[in-house]
Chain length 153, copies 2
Amino acid sequence: MSTSIEPSQLTAHLGYWLRYVSNAVSHAFARKLESRDVTVAEWALMRQLYETDAIAPSALSQQMGVTRGAVTKLVDRLLAKDMVVREDNPNDARAQTLALTPQGRSLVPELSALADQNDAEFFNHLAVDKRNHLEETLKDIVRRRGLTSIPLS
Amino acid sequence: MSTSIEPSQLTAHLGYWLRYVSNAVSHAFARKLESRDVTVAEWALMRQLYETDAIAPSALSQQMGVTRGAVTKLVDRLLAKDMVVREDNPNDARAQTLALTPQGRSLVPELSALADQNDAEFFNHLAVDKRNHLEETLKDIVRRRGLTSIPLS
DNA sequence: TATTGTTATACTCTATAACTATA
DNA sequence: TATAGTTATAGAGTATAACAATA
């Protein structure tokens, strides 16, 4: 089922289209998040914390697929916004745990609604089974990511 | 078909997974491109030029879904690397046309091979029909992008 | 020695908006 | 006035690598 969007076999790469769509979706989402003074990466972190409250930064970095340094920076920002708390681990003076503040926790559903709205703009025209397919396929790739190289430094 | 990756309805967003996977794929690809001294965005531009040689920067920016300013910067870099040429349009002194140099053109298949290799790492475990589905769905979204907001400034 | 988290540094990618030259 | 392209500025997002503290 070739279309005018695919003029050459040489340049038909899934990674390319993935990046193209992801950039557009994330950019539109960033605009929506501006109203709540949250960035996309901050949202991703809060979303993860919402699920696994409380968690060590190192574990979070692995779940998010980014470095510990990146987590440090995001958390610094979210601390300043009173969205998360950082606590020392009494059992290991090197370790910490992160958790959402009540304020942060209550914001997540609002952000989630914006994400739903953003999703709708980009994916609602797809048939339901196509949408589900896309979701399953993406998660399938995530499950496999151990096989490939994501920075964990 | 719920899995441990989806612990909450509240946080099941396609945009989230798209970004997660896209980041991982692009990062791994960036590492591969380093050996040719090309970045991912430069590759995207060269890929587009490969298909529509020669083209105006403004048209290219629309095809790529980025601003004209972004194209200017990428082209500046690719000029320095002798990958593209920038020519004045004799019919309109404001306009230009961009094209790949012979060197740039000959590099594209090499980069394409790296992209294939990268795709393989992330998508080969998927059944063929799932992979095709993913590609079609992504292109489907791109076709619709006129409906949503991509910066064109 | 290994691990946890931080920090310094440096990119890439991209936008916004003002600007210049031309139409 | 409108359009083509440039530029100045800024910020998000992220990595790498060295570091300090602790285990």
